[in-house]
Symmetry: C2
Subunit: 222 residues, 2 copies
């Protein structure tokens, strides 16, 4: 039976831009598991996800619901040990945790400062209202204020990618010869920016761009 993934969408249901949902979809693909990615706008999440956590990605596999992209990846490696491994064991889990912490703390806020208003603009109207209110309350500024002057910050984003650039300049993936869950963590976050940004995110000769395109091509059907 196919696994269900509740997958964040924009006003256009075909636009699936959530960084963490990308991580989950690539993790499922890596494990060669069939899944249905169900378009889920922000304001419908509470209708499809049960329990305390009201976020996507959430997957339903058989009768079981798992929430949170990292927990989903752990679940998949445990539940489907014969399928290609996402972590390659305990040390891989620990390392992926570090990569996720790096991605979320060093790239996440910079990306928000580049496109937070643009994200708002691709949402359906009720989701726009929710997104603006929740984010402005969290940050203490309007979305327009956060995004203002972003031209000067594109270079900061590229600079922040230095550890990834050094890594994938010397080997094809963070995982070495083939991608692992740590690759999907960063990929999901860069993909999010790539889908929303109407400007050149990465220079043409950036090894990060080549890495991104390698993974994008591997999972072009997702």
């Amino acid at each position: 039976m196919s696994i269900t993934v509740y997958d964040l969408c924009g006003a256009d249901e075909g636009l699936r831009f959530s960084p963490t949902c990308w991580r989950t979809k690539l993790a499922l693909s890596h494990k060669k598991l069939a899944f249905d990615a169900v378009a889920t706008p922000f304001t419908k999440i509470k209708e499809v996800v049960s329990g305390e956590a009201k976020t996507v990605p959430t997957i339903v596999d058989g009768g079981e619901q798992i929430n949170d992209s990292f927990k989903i990846a752990l679940y998949l490696d445990e539940k489907y040990p014969d399928a290609p491994s996402l972590f390659g064991g305990e040390q891989g889990v620990a390392a992926a945790q570090f990569v996720q912490n790096w991605t979320n703390s060093q790239l996440g806020p910079l990306i928000a400062s580049l496109v937070i208003k643009d994200i708002h603009d691709v949402l359906a109207e009720p989701d726009q209202k929710y997104f603006r209110e929740s984010r402005e309350k969290m940050i203490g500024k309007t979305l327009e204020e956060v995004q203002a002057g972003r031209e000067d910050r594109v270079e900061n984003f590229r600079t922040a990618l230095a550890p990834l650039r050094m890594t994938v300049g010397a080997q094809n993936f963070i995982g070495g010869d083939s991608p692992v869950y740590a690759d999907y963590i960063v990929f999901g976050t860069v993909k999010w920016l790539m889908q929303i940004a109407q400007f050149e995110v990465l220079a043409g000769d950036d090894p990060v761009k080549a890495w991104f395109e390698r993974i994008d091509a591997m999972y072009s059907g997702v």
Copy 2:
């Protein structure tokens, strides 16, 4: 037979402050291998290390010389597979590479900007001359200029540790329940700063400080 490690020293031969030599000494200790750490000033490296690479750490194990801390760690896991693993397999190697790239690109330059003149000051006179000339040529500024105004940059260093802080705030080590080579990579670099700095590097309640002290206590005999 004991392994020899050529280990950078200051004017005081007991002062061993090189971040990469720390990585190697902790890797050897992790593998429970006996070693002699030979005090080696900058200007004596070329006398003890043969071949093209003229840097420390270099180890000599039996007749074999291995240069470069990362290559030494790989060598040790391969040569001594029955001793506790540093990487836990291929994914661990790939992940450690990422952690090293993060450490060297995000922490290394900040630390240099905090203590480069202080490093100079702990060296013996011929090493001071070599260090000043080579570093000033590389950077295009005097050591004094690089270090000036450092008070304002201690906070930048603490901020740059965010991904490590998130990781070791939630688990004891980057490696999870016990330290792995990725831990020693960052530890060596923080130890370097700790040994040289005459100011408070980490706040008392910083999880990074607790992590540092955990590893320092484990290897207090090194």
